[in-house]
């Protein structure tokens, strides 16, 4: 089980969270291949992966996580607004 550090609540077990997939999706300029990529393609690297989680049973905030997909180690978590800490 993952131990995930919510930027607001601190380290909590994975069961309090939901995985939200790839972090940042940029809408295309309007061409079909662009839309194909937006709808169906996601990064799927072996190594550090930028994803989002939501603390659904806690503070209900979405936040950024960088996690290594080969070890499951969580390398960093940070707030969506980029601010530090929980203040």
């Amino acid at each position: 089980m993952l131990l995930i550090t919510c930027p607001w609540c601190g380290a909590r077990e994975e069961t309090e969270f939901r995985h939200g997939g790839e972090g940042v999706r940029v809408p295309p300029d309007g061409d079909d291949p662009g839309w194909t990529r937006l709808l169906y393609y996601r990064e799927n690297p072996a190594g550090p992966y930028a994803e989002r989680w939501v603390h659904v049973h806690g503070c209900r905030q979405w936040f950024h996580v960088v996690r290594d997909t080969t070890t499951h180690q969580i390398l960093s978590t940070r707030r969506l607004d980029g601010q530090e800490g929980a203040a």
Binding site: W8, C9, G10, R12, T15, H57, C59, A86
Partner: protein
């Protein structure tokens, strides 16, 4: 079980059968509940109006003139005020929000269960993933987490330890069954320890 408790009729027998001296589950006080959602500026005005320096920081609870105030998320706090007190409390808060927030009467959205006794950490650990060790979870802290699969707000009131669990009414049955099971386990463990530890007295024989 307190008379008139909505829990009494339904789960009273289950609760009292499971409870023992070191871990006792009872219905908590009835309260009215207010949700205050506010931007930063309004948060400060509300805090000042309540005579506080600020509203509680993440995962903390503070006593205020409107009752216990819990941090729920960066822009939301929950006030547990006296039964029937919601309207007056709203009138106290509302003028300070201006256009930067909202206060809503959410009374009835959660029921409080009280859990007390020295073995209650073990009981909670059987169904809740929080780290409740006294070194990290002190009186005055609150946290939103799960019991079984259900969201609850958990508040450590004092060092007894005494816990208040805020549970959505439709899930109370489920949560009580989890807790009763944990209490049953703690009690059985205790009885086993008494029966098998050579130095314990009195030695109780199990059938």
């Amino acid at each position: 079980m307190a008379d008139g408790s909505p829990l009494a009729a339904h789960l009273g027998a289950l609760i009292s059968k499971a409870s023992f001296d070191d871990a006792r589950l009872t219905p908590g006080a009835r309260v009215d509940l207010l949700s205050v959602r506010a931007r930063r500026s309004a948060v400060q005005r509300v805090a000042t109006a309540l005579g506080q320096e600020s509203l509680p920081p993440p995962n903390a609870c503070r006593a205020t003139i409107l009752g216990d105030c819990f941090w729920l998320r960066p822009d939301e706090w929950l006030f547990a005020t006296v039964p029937g007190g919601a309207e007056a409390a709203m009138k106290t808060v509302e003028p300070h929000l201006l256009d930067d927030g909202a206060v809503i009467d959410v009374s009835g959205s959660r029921i409080i269960l009280e859990l007390t006794g020295p073995r209650t950490r073990d009981v909670l650990s059987s169904c809740c993933p929080l780290d409740l060790d006294p070194s990290v979870f002190e009186p005055g802290r609150c946290a939103q987490s799960i019991i079984g699969k259900v969201s609850v707000l958990l508040h450590l009131v004092d060092a007894t330890p005494r816990w208040h669990l805020f549970v959505p009414p439709s899930y109370v049955d489920y949560v009580v069954r989890w807790l009763a099971d944990g209490i049953e386990g703690a009690r059985a463990e205790q009885e086993n320890a008494l029966a098998t530890t050579p130095h314990s007295s009195p030695v109780r024989m199990l059938p």
